[in-house]
Subunit: 404 residues, 2 copies
């Protein structure tokens, strides 16, 4: 199940960034399950990682290696190398060393990422045996294969490709992502890998990524859980002919907006592929005092199992949405000032059902596959959007029966 | 579906407290749906209410009337009188006035409570028409009928009765509760009504209730939602021959412990009757720095849809529990110090699966209907327990199909 059209787009190559995949037989026997991404020398690389206190071993290693001007990413699906203790750390470091040997580079310049089953030892030997093939396949045109190699419970590969113009020169921004939930610890995790040929320093690139992720991946939720392996990387090869992007410049704004747009599309694709999802809900919270307040209200609605099951049933059950707003922990909220819309249908006004609301109008919106819920708090000017999906029988099935 | 034995106990009468029910035909045509509770003059009455910012109309009225030495409670099921705006307030006040007329009392001494569908006008006329019958039935022996009259999606009536001894004199403490989830806004809400014949002042009774609720009703969760109508009341008639219970006395401790025990049993009954529940999970968090931290970790586990679906599937999926602990927002937690047990089976130690753990041992515990999850954080001395149930197909069914 997935909501909407989810075909993989044509990906423009990103000069200086090559990708190679191979089948290591970790869990997959048909599809490739390891991915190597190589950055040309002098690339910048930014990354953000899960806030979960119990990071998986590869997250610890990737965080540490980020300061060593990374040249390679090594990603495997089928095993998260999480909850694996000291052995997991050694295994993550070992795969970095193995790749370094194949590419004749430094292990410290490899960032490792793992996604899949938690608590099983990483099959280091299998990965090592497949590395040479993956490296021999390195090519700028392998974005589709890369997107497939990182899938776990995903039902479709996720990619976005944009070309923007900076001072007359084209700059490409590509991204791929995976994840059918904020977490599926047995098959863990959301991952996002983006690359651009823009020339931009590491510190500025890191700022740019952090802001973009805050507005995109941090605004989606499938089940409210946060993985131990979440990571998002933005590589910049500097191979574009466009001038270097510097802080505070107009060019930076153009670039940052494009990165944010790519992140938003990748994030939306994850929600569309949310486990068991049959509907995509955009929760737009308006007239909040602060952005933080708007996000808090949006996420409280998005996390409510009662709201999510009502959407699964196409039931315009506004009482559940209102109750979620009420328990979001916003101080001094006044019920009479709150308005609630389903798309353009006003359903709540003055503390109760809107006079002009009809069940038919609400039902018509609810029958759609994509629904915008607008909550106007009547307190201020802040607006934020949170994306989520519904809670279906299929969600319970996927997560209850995974290991059987 | 309900977990475990849920038969209604024999309820000792509480001198000075009488209960009367009637059928007002609000939603039920067979079962009684209104309940009047009368307290003898000079009783004390304490109450705590939902923290949801959007309280239902009766909650506003009950809060306001609590200072006027209440003599009567008027409870209806089938309609929550929530999301009903200004009309809802007038309706709640009207029912209080109607009851006051029948009992020849003051409207300000009536506390109203409503539970059921949100957003529909309260059928004031139907309630008024049934009040005389309910009042004519007032009797100390009607606790079973009372427990049935307040049910909505509950599959069984919930009651607890205890008799303690204070200085050689018996003191009865009775309670009834309803609620098949922390919230079902269409059929809203958790309610608890307790009564004792102890003699105790209002302020001390209020303290006693607040502490007991914090340790019981505030430690359970079905779906993480908080209702607009939640309320819990403790009435004390003072008719027992035992001496007045005063602050700081040994008698107070005996009494408060018994009240807490009654609250815990009533709260547990609600979880056992959780929507779609097939398993009861006790999440015990030990070695936390503070109680707040222990509760936070416990609730994060209890709210995780991934943990709940794993339990539904009897899957000892410890990675999901560990990931929930990790995202609970506890600062400086060390994975290597955390231990995880299913009943007495250690499943996680030293940051990974315990050496001596076997899937068979874990599976054996998971196959039980009641499971204790013990998380030892290795940080301090605080211990707290949270009760919850699993997330099943039936939960989705109940909440998706309610209005169809």
């Amino acid at each position: 199940m997935a909501v909407g059209q989810c075909s993989f787009p044509t990906m423009h190559p990103v000069a200086g960034i090559t990708l190679g995949t191979a089948n290591a037989g970790i869990k997959q026997t048909v599809r490739d399950d390891i991915l190597v991404i190589q950055m040309v020398e002098h690339s910048s690389c930014a990354a953000v990682f899960t806030q979960n206190a119990f990071c998986a071993a590869p997250v610890h290693v990737a965080k540490a290696n980020l300061v060593h001007s990374p040249r390679w990413l090594l990603i495997n699906s089928g095993n998260a190398n999480a909850g694996t203790g000291e052995q997991g750390m050694q295994d993550a470091l070992a795969t970095c060393a193995d790749l370094a040997e194949v590419v004749d580079g430094l292990a410290a310049q490899v960032l490792p990422f793992s996604t899949g089953v938690i608590g099983s030892p990483l099959p280091v030997g299998k990965i090592k045996a497949a590395l040479r093939e993956a490296v021999s396949n390195l090519d700028t045109d392998n974005w589709d294969k890369a997107a497939q190699a990182i899938m776990t419970t995903d039902t479709f590969p996720k990619g976005v490709s944009r070309v923007i113009e900076i001072e007359g020169q084209s700059v490409a921004i590509n991204g791929i992502s995976k994840g059918a939930g904020m977490i599926q610890p047995n098959m863990a995790t959301m991952l996002g890998f983006m690359a651009t040929d823009a020339k931009i320093g590491q510190a500025l690139l890191q700022n740019c990524l952090a802001l973009a992720v805050e507005q995109s991946f941090n605004r989606i939720t499938v089940d409210g859980d946060t993985s131990t392996n979440d990571a998002c990387v933005l590589m910049a090869s500097g191979c574009s002919l466009a001038p270097e992007i510097t802080q505070g410049s107009g060019n930076y704004q153009i670039f940052a907006d494009a990165v944010t747009a790519v992140c938003k599309q990748l994030a939306e694709a994850i929600v569309r592929d949310g486990e068991g999802a049959t509907k995509l809900m955009r929760i737009v919270v308006e007239q909040a005092l602060t952005d933080e307040e708007a996000v808090r209200v949006g996420k409280t609605i998005a996390h409510s199992p009662l709201v999510k099951t009502a959407f699964f049933a196409s039931d315009p059950n506004w009482g559940r949405i209102l109750a979620a707003v009420g328990r979001a922990g916003v101080e001094n909220m006044v019920l009479e000032d709150v308005q609630l819309y389903l798309d353009d249908v006003c359903i709540v006004r003055n503390g109760g059902r809107a006079d002009d609301y009809t069940e038919e109008a609400g039902q018509k919106v609810m029958n759609q596959e994509e629904i915008t819920v607008i909550v106007k708090l009547g307190r201020g000017e802040a607006v934020q959007e949170v994306l989520t999906c519904d809670l279906s029988y299929e969600y319970v099935k996927i997560n209850a029966e995974y290991r059987t």
